[in-house]
Amino acid sequence: MSNEYDTHDLRGLGLEPEDLDGHTIEDLTDYLDAGRTPPDPSIDASPGCRLALDALERLRDLTPELLSADSAAEPEVEEAWVERILTGITLDARAGRRIPFSAPSPHADLGITEGAVRGLMRAAESAVPGILVGRCRLDGDVTEPGAPIRVCVEVSVPYGPPIPLLAERLRTEIATSLMTHTELNITGVDVIVQDVRRRSPPVEEGR
């Protein structure tokens, strides 16, 4: 083993206790992790420790860059891959609570799932160009007919149009849709704008 890069010859930067005024690389890592507080004069005053701390910090700064570089070097994601994953998931997994509605006869038992109601709320976005519905919440006992229900949606809006206007249009659309398609007793529709999207550059051909 006379490789010039063999570990035994790696003596450029001393990282053993004798190079670090008695400290170890573990001590120094812990010190960095703690934000160098409380200050430890025996570390701060040691030239060997300061060199090692600098090296540890450089390493820490480089790590996210390595993950970015590695990710960029991965092949482009193919649609076949996306399809493969989507076929592996079960789409009925999000039914949620069952919401009863009044049946025409005592022999019928009708209901709609919470998931389907969320679907209605998402679909309301198509009436307000550019708005995107994120998470939807139904607060209240939906399993109890007539119970007061308040719904809340998180949304993303495009940069440009006045946000209150967009939010109000979506609120109206959701309220109308739920009133038309369900028997839920909606007492309020809350819209939380979570994200404002900058216009993205036009899609390039061939991508």
């Binding site: 890592t29 860059e65 390595l66 993950l67 570089a69 789409l91 939807c136 999207r197």
Partner: protein
């Protein structure tokens, strides 16, 4: 709104909207997460399990678990680090399956041949040097280092995941750090 237009808007939306929607059961939103994070998850899994052909299986598994557990994710805006976490769990499961005994300590397999420094002195020399140093680490040191520094695991969590003692984790990490730093110094 056409579905193409809708897809493009979803692609532009931030994680909290996309993941929130996927948590509610929208498969199109989940597809956006798959497109957005596949490369990152593959890259991360590959650092934990270098040289295996099973990285895609690990990532696919991670996505399927993520789909089922998304409703439990309290803050959908944190979906990125949450996916990283699931990816490393799946990668570690894979390690366990392929390494029946808890022999991480003894896994000091000979490192691959070292590349001469000149070959990696390029624009991103620091990153390339770090990547190369990681490839040279013995398995146990590399796994601990990647979970800690890329995955943000606490020492205790690494010990749990890899089924080794806390002091072993600390020892492996110290050795990994020394090796990486010294190797990187040679490239400066």
């Amino acid at each position: 709104m056409s579905s193409d237009q809708n897809r493009k808007e979803l692609e532009d939306a931030d994680d909290s909207i996309v993941a929130g929607r996927a948590a509610d059961g929208d498969a199109a939103a989940f597809a956006v997460l798959v497109r957005r994070y596949t490369a990152m998850m593959r890259a991360y899994a590959r650092r934990i399990l270098p040289g295996t052909a099973e990285v895609d299986d690990v990532v696919q598994d991670a996505f399927i678990t993520a789909w089922h557990r998304l409703p439990e994710l309290e803050d959908p805006g944190k979906v990125k680090s949450w996916l990283m976490r699931i990816t490393s769990r799946k990668a570690v499961d894979h390690l366990r399956a392929s390494r029946p005994y808890s022999d991480i300590d003894r896994v000091e397999a000979p490192a691959p041949a070292q590349t001469a420094p000149a070959r990696v002195v390029e624009a991103r020399a620091g990153v390339a040097a770090l990547g190369q140093a990681l490839r040279e680490l013995p398995d146990g040191q590399r796994e601990c280092w990647v979970l800690r520094e890329m995955g943000g695991y606490a020492y205790e969590e690494i010990a749990d995941e890899l089924d080794i003692s806390l002091s072993t984790v600390r020892g492996l990490l110290a050795r990994a750090r020394k090796y990486i730093i010294v190797r990187m110094e040679q490239w400066r």
